[in-house]
Symmetry: D2
Subunit: 242 residues, 4 copies
């Protein structure tokens, strides 16, 4: 019976770091919209002795997610166990005066995040339930943000999607915890150190969150015994006053 980890939002940066960390123990399935993103990561994990499959997927689309699941089942058998499922899909971040936002922009931010989280949880949880006797409890982690706790000016869409995902994480933890599934929500509070953020805040060393740090903490969450689950955790650089 196969045990795998699945990472949605396996782009460069945090997603890639999480994928590499879990690939040290499990075959990993990597989801991202673009094959372009997935290929170098799959190659890199294989090069380091891991097992990885990239499947271009739009997690906010039910048909796309369904077809991805079919592919996973045909690869690993229908009785596979998902040991870890990480929802790391970014919400669209656009700061804009509220009255200048179009409904399309507003829902274009909320739908992928909340619809994506819903689809991902519905697709993966059925394969997590029977893993609850394993050494490490099956673990579903949602990557959140400061905006999951605080709605800032001009960020109503982003905040609504992050608040919404947090609500779902809480509901799932309370429903699936007693069934042995570990559901966590991580509040990433700071700029993550990636190619994209190269230009920001260079003055203070280590003031941007290293993706590796996030990945190691996600792994730790996965290893917690069921008598000592963490549901919510914040991660921020030492330099942050917050």
């Amino acid at each position: 019976m196969s045990k795998i980890a699945i990472i949605a939002g396996a782009g460069p940066g945090t997603g890639a770091a999480i994928a590499r960390r879990f690939a040290q123990v499990y075959p990993v399935i990597l989801l991202s919209r673009s094959e372009h993103t997935l290929n170098p990561l799959v190659k890199d994990i294989k090069h380091n002795g891991g097992s990885a499959v990239g499947i271009p997927t739009d997690v906010a689309s039910i048909p796309s997610m369904d077809s991805t699941l079919e592919q996973i089942k045909s690869n690993f058998g229908p009785d596979l166990t998902i040991a870890a499922a990480i929802f790391n899909v970014a919400s669209k971040f656009s700061m804009k005066p509220f009255l200048e936002q179009s409904p399309e922009q507003f829902f274009g931010s909320i739908e992928p995040a909340v619809m994506g989280a819903f689809n991902f949880a519905q697709a993966t949880l059925p394969f997590m339930l029977h893993g609850n006797k394993d050494r490490y409890s099956p673990t579903l982690i949602f990557t959140g943000a400061t905006a999951a706790l605080k709605g800032s000016s001009g960020l109503s869409a982003f905040a609504a999607s992050k608040f919404g995902t947090r609500a779902m994480a809480q509901s799932l933890a309370r429903e699936f915890g007693p069934k042995g599934v570990h559901v966590s929500h991580a509040i990433i509070d700071g700029i993550i150190n990636t190619e994209m953020t190269k230009g920001f805040g260079q003055d203070i060393p280590d003031a941007k969150i290293e993706p590796q740090g996030i990945a190691d903490t996600y792994w730790h969450l996965h290893t917690q015994p069921r008598s000592a689950f963490t549901h919510e955790i914040d991660i921020r650089p030492y330099s942050e006053k917050w």
Copy 2:
């Protein structure tokens, strides 16, 4: 220049009590999906010397909300001031195991609430901004619930919609507060005493929230001077342990 109050979700119960309270001072516009709901309330307010117009509206629909606004402008003139806008639309509440929820059910709960709150705020705020020199600051209030703070088992859709509305209320408060608009979010924590809840919890007197109490507190929020705005408030019966 006309000054009005507008209440979305002007059904029986809380919406009606709010409408009656604000009708003591302003002409009130009452929105609800069904004319059936609006008529007796409009009649009752007029009977008591107030001024009320009921406009059947689906606030989650942009065309419906647009047409409602056109009607308001033609009634009160295009330079009307909205002194108070109350978003009191109920989210669908259905407790159900997560894996038995269909995407339609899930989004059928989130869309009306979050889309409705978005449309309502976008439609009313432009008519609130120039009221910021009035005796009472223009006030936009969102009715929330316990589920805005806590995602319970089986309630992920309901909680996501309430968390999402709270996120929007916070963002709007931070953006429009400095422009003199008072944005508040009320956490109604308990069963409201209405026709629908007649059968529940009859043993302890006053253990259900009286709509009149909510209405009086909403009115108080409206009267707060801009140096002392309240953004978030909880309302619950004395008997609640919470």
Copy 3:
């Protein structure tokens, strides 16, 4: 049977505004360390037709609080009802690097606040319980601050005292709510406009909280029916981004 209101921390500013507001309905007992502070306020309230008694009291001292209660009972009879008790005593605010704080400074900040809140609640609650059939439920309000929610750098003593008072307010609400006593906690989030703060932030009009606004909201809390109590409320100027 007499009904009175009692305000601890009846200094100039917020305490005085609260006293004047409640004196419109009840005889008020004003507590403050210095007679000097109390006299002009007592005079002013009487001048406006109210009834007021000032009793110099250190609420953090049990003997002082006991003697004050004896005086109140001899004035109003032993079966008096305390309709409203407001704990408005300031905590010492001193921002200082943690390693430079002496234990005396640290506890000199916590003790008056937390000990004072404890003494005040123990002294007043016994006279509130039998008032639970009155038109307005007996009400115990604690004035809190932003530091009740957030411990800032250099403010550990101030924050610990404000967090501690908030903890007590919650515990008392859960214990005495079901007995008909309304216990509230107000988070005052901003600079209050008093003699002392005259020099601060003069550029934006109304950017400092008017004591009158706080007083009116406290009065509103007192008038809430028991089916619709508010436990926690924030109060801040419109200009605050928070």
Copy 4:
């Protein structure tokens, strides 16, 4: 230059598990009121190849804490580094109607907790600051409880002490984080599986928190790189609905 870990509240149960975990890497100093508690733990750690010193200490007493520090300095040299300091001292838990609590009981609960946390932080932080270039950032962890977030009926003293400690943890994180010290607060939400709790809740397996789980998570916090510190974390059994 010596590097050590110090654990206050090194009683059986959580304290002992933490001590054993950190003793795998550092010499550990164990503080507890009674030598009786310390001796078997010291012996056990040594037996497993670790290094441990037990020093009977009342952390709420400044002279006692001072004398303990002198002893540590004479053992490890005055330029020692405290790599990890864990404040795991229990607050007195007594559920009691508020009006039956004596001031002595109330402050007998708050003082040891808050005074103890203050003394411990003041004593250890000066030896943590120069460790900020080490592989693992110097780490100060406070063990909290559900009562740090919620004041329950009859538990005002316990809650005030836990809220107060949390306030201090936040203030210290904001002050010492930028100096490279990792300050964390753990919310232990459930019954811990110890000798004392043997009789409780036996029906559901693993429904009590294993001390080992707490210890492993504390160790993980210690290993987080400074770009990805966690300040607050909850730990609860999977079976908890919370």
